[in-house]
């Protein structure tokens, strides 16, 4: 059955095609803004989450106190000492404990200078969580592994040498030899970011950076990720029994805090997109008011020959609904195209784009667009249905 009131609304929209079209474009923009922003945010969350969750079984221990050095000229030390490390090892059970030296250094390759992180690790620990892409892992001495970013930027190959430390003519700087190049790790959640780093043996590190038996970080890699809470509790009980000595964090808490931050950002940018829908709502309201004002006499005719108020209301709500549906459908299609392009441009990968939690923003945006339209039509429809038929008929 075709509804005569729907038919009337369709004809009214067609009669004022340009005006209706312009009002719908407002909705299109609003829908696109909300959907593509939502998709962008979600894709960002998904991609970060996937990168981080690979190290989700790692507990990160860092020092919570600053030890002030008594030696002049030596910087204050912030680290986990040997006895604390022993406590950690004894309380970590079967899990793998990896003490890590970490600093930042300048270096030179030939005449090019650079800056990056430097990690000192026990050579036997390296293979437990790092992957060598090219060449071999280190055994000690002046062997080093470099991250792919450094390797690329400085054209490093196996056997290349780097001078570590600040370029200074009066000091002879120690030299390391590239034994291998690491696989890219991206953003990591175990707080070991090796892409722009040099990894050397702990022996070499303490020889040159004076951090003997003081570790910047200790990672505990769990055999079973489900035991993360017990392990953390055991370490906390043992190590922090008197004072808060180490701060215990893990990838899952970092992950959830990062994703919740990204979620907040997503909501925020969607709200900015929502502003355009508010503007669209005003223009729909305006078009609906114009439609009502132009059709006062027609409304008078409808009411006087026995049309119910509800039917008149329905006619105008249909009109708003049609504008909303046009806007939402066009907006939905464009959201898909624009969203895909934006995600591709900003994240560099669309592998998460087709996930339900990403695509769901298209119907969300469309529904919000239609609802906004119908809400904007409520008052004009109400006004039309409550006209006095005599006054309405008399108007020209």
């Amino acid at each position: 059955m075709s509804d005569i009131f729907f038919e009337l609304s369709v004809r009214s929209v067609r009669l004022n095609f340009l005006r209706s079209l312009l009002a719908s474009i407002g909705i299109v923009i609003g829908v696109v803004a909300i959907s593509s922003m939502g998709m962008l945010g979600t894709n960002m969350q998904l991609s970060v989450k996937d990168q981080l969750s690979s190290n989700v079984n790692t507990v990160i221990l860092t020092s919570d106190v600053v030890k002030v050095s008594t030696l002049p000229g030596v910087a204050a030390v912030n680290g986990i000492d040997a006895s604390t490390l022993n406590d950690i090892k004894s309380s970590a059970g079967q899990n793998t404990v990896i003490p890590i030296h970490h600093g930042s250094t300048q270096f030179s390759v030939g005449s090019n200078n650079g800056r990056g992180s430097i990690y000192g690790l026990d050579p036997t620990d390296i293979q437990k969580f790092l992957t060598v892409d090219e060449g071999n892992s280190i055994k000690g001495g002046s062997d080093a592994l470099v991250g792919p970013t450094i390797a690329n930027n400085f054209n490093l190959d196996i056997g290349s040498t780097l001078k570590i430390g600040q370029p200074n003519v009066s000091v002879v700087r120690p030299v390391v030899r590239v034994a291998g190049i690491l696989t890219s790790r991206g953003i990591t959640s175990d707080n070991v970011n090796t892409d722009n780093a040099i990894v050397v043996s702990d022996q070499w590190y303490t020889d040159h950076f004076d951090d003997k038996d003081v570790y910047d970080q200790v990672n505990v890699i769990l055999q079973n990720v489900d035991t993360i809470n017990q392990t953390e509790a055991a370490i906390d009980k043992k190590v922090n029994r008197n004072n808060q000595i180490v701060r215990i964090t893990d990838a899952s808490s970092r992950l959830s805090s990062i994703t919740s931050t990204l979620g907040t950002i997503t909501t925020f940018i969607m709200a900015i997109g929502g502003i355009s829908l508010v503007v669209a709502a005003v223009s729909i309201f305006n078009v609906m008011m114009m439609s009502v004002k132009e059709r006062v006499q027609e409304i008078g005719i409808l009411l006087s020959i026995g049309t119910e108020k509800g039917e008149v209301r329905r006619m105008f709500l249909y009109e708003a609904l049609i504008l909303g549906l046009i806007g939402a459908i066009v907006g939905g299609i464009m959201s898909f195209l624009i969203g895909y392009t934006v995600v591709q441009a900003m994240i560099g990968s669309t592998s998460y784009f087709f996930r339900p939690e990403s695509l769901i923003f298209i119907p969300y945006g469309m529904i919000i667009g239609v609802v906004v339209c119908v809400l904007s039509g409520l008052y004009p429809a109400w006004m039309a249905s409550n006209m006095d038929p005599i006054d309405a008929l008399r108007s020209e």
Binding site: I4, L8, E298, G306
Partner: protein
């Protein structure tokens, strides 16, 4: 005249509250219109004709007094009941035709049926009504603005009749038509009266009023002759 009363106005007054003071459009008017009557309501402009028309058409309710249609008090009805009474019992014919501009002639006639039965007409009644007033197939596909005044008024009559109302309420039905077309329209109305409709014509034209069997004259909101 039938002795069964269809419309009864009992001491009806209509007062408009204006900034310049109260305006009494109808002043204690009492009339009775029986079934199958042909009544003309006459009077100069400002005499209360339109107000009377609005009362009879249940577009408005009296300020005081009672308006009974089929012995039902209009003032005591809900808005929806009045709407349904307008839809089912009264056919309106206006001077300016007042067809719905977005609907074709056929759809205009079909419209009251849709209001009543909540579905499109499949009985052929709308088509039959158009045939009866001389609007053919081709013409009925046109929008009102593509029809002449006479054709529009015929469509309006067909629309007024399609729900088989007891009362035909005509407000200057020939006012916007040339003499010849006007006469043709009046012939249709006479014919409808013959077929049992109660026809009420509001007019200021004595020639039109001559068709009626009874004339009610209004002056300053009062009935001066009935």
């Amino acid at each position: 005249m039938s002795d069964q009363s269809l419309i009864q106005l009992v001491d009806v007054s209509k007062i408009y509250h204006l900034e310049s003071g109260d305006f009494i459009a109808l002043n204690h008017v009492s009339i009775v219109i029986g079934e199958n009557e042909f009544v003309a309501i006459m009077g100069p402009s400002g005499s209360g004709k339109s107000t009377m028309m609005n009362q009879l058409g249940i577009l408005d309710v009296p300020t005081t007094g009672e308006l009974l249609i089929d012995n039902r008090d209009v003032a005591k009805m809900s808005n929806l009941e009045r709407t349904h009474l307008r839809r089912d019992s009264i056919g309106y014919i206006f001077q300016k035709f007042y067809l719905i501009p977005l609907l074709s002639a056929y759809e205009n006639v079909e419209y009251p049926l849709i209001l009543k039965y909540k579905k499109r007409d499949t009985t052929g009644r709308a088509r039959a009504m158009l045939d009866a007033v001389g609007i053919d197939h081709d013409m009925s596909a046109h929008r009102p603005n593509q029809l002449s005044g006479g054709q529009q008024q015929r469509v309006a009559i067909a629309r007024a009749l399609v729900n088989d109302p007891k009362i035909l309420l005509c407000d200057e039905p020939t006012g916007n038509l040339d003499r010849k077309t006007g006469l043709a329209i009046m012939d249709i109305l006479c014919d409808l009266h013959q077929k049992g409709k109660t026809v009420i014509i509001v007019t200021h034209d004595p020639k039109i009023a001559e068709y009626a069997h009874r004339t009610i004259s209004l002056e300053d909101g009062k009935v001066v002759e009935s």
